[in-house]
Symmetry: C2
Subunit: 282 residues, 2 copies
């Protein structure tokens, strides 16, 4: 936990004078780390030992040590926290906010992922003879992206963003089929139906969705991205980005598992694309 959060969390435990110190620090942490204990004490209108005690209460060795910790809290130039966009934000502000929110979410997604699950997913994908990526709405573009990636691996891959096609497709599943379903909530009826149908036809279902959701019920393997989202006003942006990065991870795992020789192959596909481009030097 960052020092600033820690201060906020302990606000009620502090005594009157200590709270004064906390207020001053929270007011302007940047200037706090550049102040001496004397100046800080003066600004907070308390005595120097009070400041010192305040520091110790936060499990630091003393004031200099506290400053060090505080400095580290402030180090992340931008405080990647979830800051919601407000009605009167200018372009500068909302751009920053959206990027920062996305980054914060990616970070939390990163920490919530279980490498073991990733590994299993890669296992399943490697062994399958047919990979299907399905998504609806916002998740459709994630599925498309996955298709695009795995298509380059020269793997039989299909992708549908249409419920009927998805249903028809899974009916032809075999036990060598892997169906990857993208759904943030895991509560989209038709998606759950597709999962059910796929299972009934022996396919292996990987659900990239919320833990404990109906879709998760029907999945052989669930990869959950715990991305807390304020889904009320704005659309699920961050969750989709996290899903995309997850696809990158799976694709990378896939590539690595296939070994060196296969990576050469990747370069070939890549260079095939190059011919349709303007050459940079000409």
């Amino acid at each position: 936990m960052s020092m600033l959060e820690k201060i906020i969390q302990n606000l009620e435990i502090f005594s009157k004078s200590e709270k004064k110190v906390a207020d001053v620090i929270l007011e302007s942490p940047q200037s706090a780390i550049h102040s001496s204990i004397a100046t800080l004490a003066k600004v907070a209108d308390v005595s120097e030992p009070t400041v010192n005690r305040f520091c110790r209460r936060l499990d630091t060795k003393g004031y200099p040590d506290f400053k060090l910790h505080l400095a580290q809290s402030l180090a992340n130039g931008t405080p990647y926290v979830n800051r919601n966009v407000e009605a009167n934000d200018g372009p500068e502000v909302y751009t920053q906010k959206i990027f920062e929110t996305t980054i914060a979410h990616l970070d939390s997604a990163k920490n919530s992922l279980d490498p073991e699950v990733i590994n299993k997913a890669v296992d399943l994908l490697i062994q399958s003879k047919q990979i299907s990526f399905f998504g609806l709405g916002a998740s459709a573009s994630v599925a498309r992206d996955a298709e695009n990636k795995f298509f380059r691996f020269n793997v039989p891959v299909i992708c549908f963003d249409d419920i009927m096609m998805q249903r028809m497709s899974v009916i032809n599943s075999t036990e060598d089929s892997v169906v990857v379903l993208f759904s943030h909530t895991g509560r989209t009826k038709s998606m759950v139906d597709v999962a059910k149908l796929a299972r009934e036809n022996d396919a292996i279902v990987i659900g990239i969705t919320a833990q404990d959701s109906p879709l998760a019920e029907y999945s052989n393997l669930v990869i959950s991205l715990d991305v807390l989202e304020d889904t009320d006003v704005y659309m699920p942006m961050a969750s989709r980005v996290a899903q995309l990065v997850l696809v990158d991870v799976l694709a990378t795992g896939f590539t690595l598992r296939r070994g060196e020789k296969f990576r050469e192959n990747l370069k070939k596909v890549k260079s095939a694309i190059k011919d349709s481009r303007f050459n940079k030097i000409d």
Copy 2:
């Protein structure tokens, strides 16, 4: 630049004694920030003022100030730098690496964006009577995503990931049309052709692409995401994520510009979707 990097970079400029100090600090930065100037001097076998001069040489006010800077360098628990995946990385490692790389890229993209350009783009989008999103390959999913988003705004929006359809579509452009082209390199021939064609038919072209690329030439407005990418082995992952977030930014700007009343409308679209979901409590 981080303090540690700065020290490494200046290693040759330092004098003999200063280098001793640098070595000790680089050896164990963590312990350095917890040492007093005296102990550090002793460990480095130099005098205290030498340490002080060392600090000043690195543009800090003195030793305490230096420690603060150093502490901040070490703060970033995870060093969001571009760490490439290696052949023998395990799931844990490559997952972390990919997420961190993506985050690092988003951060650099965030910093490279010009809010003024964003604002202009939103202006253009707001005023247009017809928005087209075009992308090929990996960028196609970004275009789809943009379509999905703007479709919810009840705006006439089209999206094609097929060259012929794109060409046919832009031929019918008017001066009220805005064509948004996604291309990481800006060097895909057919994309550039579409841009050219669009301009010839009075459409306004927004290129989400590299500065100084052929595509940028034909764009009325270029939004460039300076995402340095090692495009050699793995596919352009990060750039695509940055593009997606950019779409979020544009969509948000769009929404904000339309004002409160319109945001209510968004909720309606949203609730229409809700009916196709399982209810959480049942």
